[in-house]
Amino acid sequence: MSAADLLRRLFGRRTTPEEQMPMTATEVVHHFFRALGERDAATALGLLAADAEIEVLPAAGQVSMDPVSAGRRFFDATVGAFPDLSVTVHRVADLGGGVVLAELTLEGTQAQDYLGAINQEKHLDLRQGWLLTVHGGVITGVKGFWDENQLFRRLAVKRLDHLAIVEGAHA
């Protein structure tokens, strides 16, 4: 073993300049949605600050209104309900001040109940717009915009007040 190897072993591996560079805001957002698309909830949630303010308004009726836990529960539920989940990012734009715009399509086949809709193994494709705030390499704020009508229509739900009433069921 060379002296250099010994020193490296004793004092740890040297990081490359690239590794020392913090991720930019847009890189953090790309990383976040890439992790979601790979159904890696742990990595995605690891990029969220512990006290991140998360507003997923379209899910507000289905999950806790608490802004911190609701968001984490939403991402967990999404990854869990769609085992073949894919996230196609159409645009990520740096809006300055740590705010990043993301436009994407979320796709997958339902495999378990999701936001109140029972599982009928339907395919979901849903375009979404997101505003994320990034500070110090972590996401401190998330706002998601999409339409629940489109979500539930694709999952064959018939009424907004009775999400468990599905296509083919008659009152």
């Binding site: 308004l57 379209p58 645009r91 734009a93 740096d94 809006l95 300055g96 001040g97 705010v99 715009l101 436009e103 375009r127 979404q128 717009g129 505003l131 706002k143 915009f145 999409w146 339409d147 629940e148 009508n149 489109q150 539930f152 229509r153 739900v157 018939k158 009424r159 907004l160 007040d161």
Partner: protein
Amino acid sequence: MTLAVRAPAQTVEAFFDAYRRHEVDEMVDLCTPNADFSYVPVEIWGRQRVVRGDGKVATIGKTLWTGLITSFPDLWNTVSSVRTGEEGGVVAVEVTIGGTQASAWANISARGGSFAEPHLFVFRCHDGLIDGITAYWNNASISRQLGHLEID
């Protein structure tokens, strides 16, 4: 004399100002003749086909805005943030749009209800004009507020 080209944020603010005054022609004039238009939540399912809110400002956009103002004569908007992208003329706007329903809108019959709903608009601007509009919001929330609970 050369007219100064509006900054993207100014163009977008002028757009919402015109919308607040229900001046649809002025809204259209703030866009390029071939500006793209996408109201993502708009999809009306018929027996044979689905009509979506995708196309051009001059056709689909103008028709939708005119229809909305007819159905909601007090249609209003309050802009809460305007953020311009670091590059590419992208402007993201958070705006709450609301109104009181006076006549049928799409498949929602008029019950006299009101709505107020946060929207995210994404504009693409070029040479002082809007060249593309994409909007996201929760249409189901508007349906609930107006008393329409069926998912058509």
